[in-house]
Symmetry: C2
Subunit: 229 residues, 2 copies
């Protein structure tokens, strides 16, 4: 796995120590996330669309209705900025200025193309489901031809990429440690799962599947990273 | 409070029942969020930057280093797409096609301008801190002139806006309820706070402030919505 070369768009100029160009760091963040924000421009106007995504080796993949404006625009191979941002905590310092957020973010630049081959498309949708819920694909009613036609799957190579990460406690100015009487530290945040709620129409004997017990996005991200290679 | 008129950019064409143009709905989502994604275009290339934000009446406000590329670009009054997306749950259906995400999202279009007046700028930064941590501003070492200069505060009017919301259980095709033996329902997700971790350098007698006990982004969003008017 080769690392990324900083480009004019990905070079971190401010706080450069927060920038990371190792492919392993970029992939780990992509594997831990659920939703990305896709930025694109139509008629000189920027749009940002949030959507779920997954990683397959050296590409990210997302999908949507073939009729959606965002999907129809992006499949024309226009430039895209693909952003994943994981919020890990609020950083409370002794001055307003040094308050911050602990985060892991990835920005990718490139353009996306639809996966047209029917088998490749189906395999990619299966990978998306299995990434979140291992074993579920085989339980589902298989997709129909019409459903596959109504779904566009877009892939974008992970070529031009940068990760940016902040961790750890606040960094205060020296004199403030001695003179400012306030609590300082980190309030951890994470996207956490609650108790699953069934829809009240389960067939007799259908129980809670193992993939929903103790569901943990971060844990599955680590566990499934290898599968994406 | 007047509601929003759909425009070419904000009219929801697909699944229009998910679109909402009431100002109250838009504001409630903005008040419940912590991080936005700002989309903008430089030299025909889209960028998406995640950052914290807050709402003050009929504008959203965010800030950053005066030296940051994102801040310097956006303060030139270029077109901006401002996106807030709250992920409420994974929706598991009986077919892959009907899987979904429960979410609340807001898209705003417009352009941003820096808050130049020093008093207004300071009041806005105070509002940002107090929104998250009521009472904290008075505990902090006040900002210096240099810190205020190094910080740019951007405001954008909430003029062209749309909310999009999905809630509730999966909606499956009729026959699948009878024939597909799998669990179906919703796995709730929320950005949840863990236990606060102090930085080990608190002055003697400084304890955990009340605003960090039982911190709940959604609850503070509701509680503080009135304050933003």
């Amino acid at each position: 796995m080769s690392d990324f070369k900083p480009t004019a768009r990905t070079r971190i100029k401010r706080l450069p120590k927060r920038g990371h160009y190792e492919r392993e760091t970029v992939n780990a963040i992509l594997d831990a996330g659920l939703v990305c924000h896709v930025g694109y421009t139509i008629d000189e106007h920027p749009y940002v669309t949030a959507t779920s995504y997954w990683r397959e080796g050296d590409r990210v993949v997302w999908h949507g209705s073939s009729a959606s404006r965002a999907i129809r625009a992006v499949k024309q191979a226009i430039p895209v900025c693909f952003n994943v941002s994981l919020i890990d905590g609020l950083v409370l310092a002794r001055s307003g200025f040094h308050h911050s957020i602990n985060y892991r973010t990835v920005m990718l630049f490139g353009d996306a193309a639809p996966i047209e081959d029917p088998d490749e498309k189906l395999a990619s949708l299966e990978a998306f489901t299995e990434r979140l819920f291992p074993g579920r694909w085989a339980e589902l009613r298989p997709p129909t031809r019409q459903e596959l036609k109504a779904t566009t799957v877009l892939a974008m190579r992970i070529d031009e990429a940068v990760a940016k990460v902040r961790t750890g406690p606040p960094v205060d100015d020296g004199e403030d440690y001695a003179t400012t009487r306030c609590w300082a530290g980190v309030l951890p945040l994470k996207l956490a799962a609650g108790e699953p709620v069934d829809d009240g129409r389960l067939l007799p004997g259908v129980g809670l599947p193992s993939y929903l017990k103790g569901f943990d996005l971060e844990a599955y991200g680590k566990a499934n990273a290898a599968a994406a290679e």
